[in-house]
Symmetry: D3
Subunit: 238 residues, 6 copies
């Protein structure tokens, strides 16, 4: 049994709260157990300077930890650190796969994921919250009379899996993550295709069989989260 | 009448939520109307390098806006900008006046104020939230068996006042703040002494009479907020 | 009696030297006792990028300490530090209140205040010196055939006051400043209106009565300095 | 057939040159087709400050592009950019999996990978070159009388695979990489276990079947590169 | 006799390798004994923002040490350090003297010198290698149909000289450089004129007679290097 | 005749003002025509971290332009720029040649040169002013009872020379400097030895004969400045 009493392939409680930040176009609090991430989506007219007008829109993401989010306060990053940089690149790349940028016109979607409380799986909670906050933002645009038809082409979800004490586990909390031999993030579309797979064994290695078991668990976890999102906004999952 | 229907000397709704960030020793959400600030307090053993052991503790504060907190998303500051720097210096200076650092021993109190949603008065909401989060942190230390007797020597509260359209108003929202001729922040102890007064008329000036009226309003506002805090933790207001 | 033998409400010797930096359009050495600040004013065509043409001019200020200005050499700031940032924001805000930016056209006034020797009151000496250097610069523009009519709408002056050993004192030197319980900067127009009031008691507090006494002292000090400036350039004080 | 005439599962020419940088303890030029990376390994006494003495050694890596390495000169990074940061974290994490840090004592291995010429696959060429340069460095330590027994516990190799035009291809050159729908890096030990798998479809997705085909290709590629390294230093592959 | 057996006025072995970096327009490895510098030349359309179109081209240079180039690994510079900055300014200034910028049109020549292995004289090896890489780049432009007539107006060469143990020596290696009382860099055109002379005695001084002897040695060294370059590309030395 | 009516080998008026910055141990205003540099010298106990106790003292220098020092205001450097870095390295290197660091004990001399007004020759005026400010500082140490015997081992002076319009000129003002074909700085001891020679022809070249004439002029200029310094403090020139 796991440190918090879950089954190996059981997710922690998933909780989504829409409209968490009133001044942003779209926002959500994305919680997974004790992990909580503030996700905001803003859409501005115009493109980054390296992208010419008429070539479709753009989507970019930033990720940070609030200093109080960790057990021991962590220093505020002045420049974006290696870990945050890697995670925000992942969030941006992933969400761009979910969106049809051509449908966006000369606009830039800006996603911000700020971790309020960290207990493992912050990058996955960020992706799931960003997915939801984007839906909130698009609904608001629709209310304002814009067409948002097809902007989200493949809704997706993310979850962590790992090998802890020789067993494959789904959705690692911080204690499990610290003790894991293999750590993997799986991002899949609601229709069951892979968008990103990142597996690493910092000081351990893993066999093809273990890799397959990890992918199975990831598939189960992402499909459950997609189902949660589909309950909130079924219209994006047709 | 004011843009949101309030009387000139009426506060917006004040709302405090304790334990908002589970991993921090003390935390609070401090809301004043639509303005919401996440305040965390962590206390670590040790002193900054410039302070010698045995000379009392230290208290330091950081302040930032989350990018989505403003109507138009604001860029994340890489280095601390001029405005944030000024505000976090104010928060630190003010809270140090509330605390008896000698009672703290060789410890450093670290305060973080991160604005979740901004609608005017964020620096005052930060100070009030930091005051509360510090009380939460001290209560937790007390539960852990530490003596916290006398650490808070003078609980205090902060509020903005201003001259808008020729009238003195209490607790300006963003729209009022943008239109104000004079803008002032008043920080007072629960017992009615001044800790800090900062009044400025960016392109306007103000008379001694106006200054007096502003101070009167500030006195009223801070005493009401102190009363709110005293309801939560009367033991710090004896 | 005070450390340097002055009366409580007596200024140190004020000294202004015009044309201190030959390559700048306007310049002044502003001295107050042993405190000396090099102030230069340059005016360039054009506006900052965020300000559209035709909406009036702009004025911006920078403040730094020369490394040798303090008793113990202070490190050169690579990025502008918190204290310098706060002071240069104050100088800019204050001088903008003195000037009618609409009369300036699409021009930007750049003020630089570099402390040559520091003995307390450097921010006030900077504001007074910047005021004078601006007058020098405008007179030179006038000689070059430009109209400067009404550019200075409200000449102003700044002075520090404080509570030291229980007594209200005017124009604190460094020793007094270090020992002060309350420290306040008062900036007033020559006609007796307030532009900015900043009072703080880092670890002490102050009563309404003390605040009033401090404001009285500040009023006396600023009116004496305005009188000095009016002797040099009466035409700006009509 | 591929742009350079290779079969889908055929590597480019692999070329290793030992002792490329005379002043470094260990060094290698690692070439894969036109991609060339300068890899140096230096070992210094002592540990990073966060690691206590006696807890085993440490290994850290840096990665950069030389400005002239790309078709159009790329600007020199002042701070480490997001992409470089991600790659150097991968190199460090991977090499730490290959090494038994406990056998190293209080020493830090510093790896530098500087891309001399870039034609796709620079991160994999870096890992392979770092692996070889580390062997060179250890042999030199052995000559100097140190025991290096067991320091390399699992020699490993890295290769890129991808889906281009619907076909799974091994070891993508730059042109193929730019056109790839899915891009994956596979890092495996010489004995056939996985160390890291990173697969991403920036705007595409991939099925479980494609993922399996990519892993098969990666397994073939890494085993061929491990065989090359084993020819040079069979003693590390016993 | 010298530490490596050379005569006082004897150069180390000079070695040039063209086309060292395939993706750059022009490149060379410039070696002088154990000192090796990677030099690349790229030419882009357009001018720096401070230079107006039609006023001739521009040439700029960057210089860095690879971390593994020194006996003890040197930290990668995040910002360009004082020494590197000084050297790259020298390389740029010198190469601009060799080139007729007016013949270049609205183009910018970008030179990068990255030290692969350092054994004294890296700035001179950089200048000589940059000179050669520029010739390679111009020949490639000529092949592409551009006129390069007269772009190189005065080919030049650089060498270090010094006073070591009381004797004037040519082309100091690292050991000699560390022990030198006087250190001088001499840059001369192939036709025997001076472009730059930089002589310094960090803690020693030197007489006019010593200065003359140093200049004689520098003249001999640069003429021998120019002769080497003229063997490779006689057409630039007509 | 020259732009300001001087003879070719005539210095501008040299002016030294001691004690210009009261809070520094030693200070001087060093003026040469319209060029004015504020030089301060402070001496602190202790050595830089890379220098071990007992190995003699250290001396370091910083150089900056005040923003108002140039005809058009120059931006304040956030990081030290290439030109300033080069000049401050020169000042430090030169002054270290003048001083017997072994006589200094475990102390660090800190020199700051801040250009108040720039009209050519600022680096030479800085060196001459730093030389004088150092003497002032040492005299003050002597008054405090320290032995300063032999700390200055070789007083020195610096001057610029150049070729302008085909003629060799001494002590170039800004206008001449801008038009110079060759620009050289000569630093010599009072006893006539060279400490540093830096000659450059940015787009021109110069013959050995011109070089000799420039050195002659530099020798004349530095000996006149040394004579000025010797009038002030003959005891350092015995």
């Amino acid at each position: 049994m796991r440190v918090d009493g879950r089954q190996n392939e059981q997710l922690r409680e998933i909780r989504f709260e829409r409209g968490f930040v009133k001044n942003s176009l779209g926002s959500a609090l994305s919680a997974c157990g004790l992990t909580e991430v503030i996700c905001t989506v803003n859409i501005k007219e115009g493109l980054p300077s390296w992208k010419r007008s008429g070539s479709g829109g753009w989507l970019t993401a930033e990720y940070r930890m609030l200093p109080g989010a960790t057990h021991t306060r962590s220093k505020r990053e002045s420049a974006v650190g290696g870990r945050s940089s890697e995670i925000q690149r992942l969030i941006g790349r992933t969400l761009r796969a979910a969106v049809d940028l051509d449908k966006l016109g000369d606009r830039t979607i800006q996603i911000d994921c700020d971790v309020l409380n960290a207990d493992g799986g912050t990058r996955c909670a960020s992706i799931n919250g960003a997915m939801l906050a984007l839906m909130v933002a698009l609904k608001k645009m629709e209310e304002q009379g814009h067409s948002i038809e097809g902007v989200i082409k493949k809704p997706l979800a993310a979850i962590s899996v790992g090998v802890v004490g020789g067993e494959v586990m789904l959705d690692l909390c911080y204690k499990e993550d610290s003790a894991a031999d293999v750590d993997m993030n799986v991002i899949m579309t609601a229709s069951g295709d892979f968008v990103e797979v990142q597996g690493t064994g910092e000081e351990a290695v893993f066999s093809r069989a273990e890799l397959n078991a990890l992918l199975d668990a990831g598939e189960k976890g992402t499909s459950e989260i997609s189902a949660e999102l589909a309950k909130i906004y079924p219209e994006f999952f047709l």
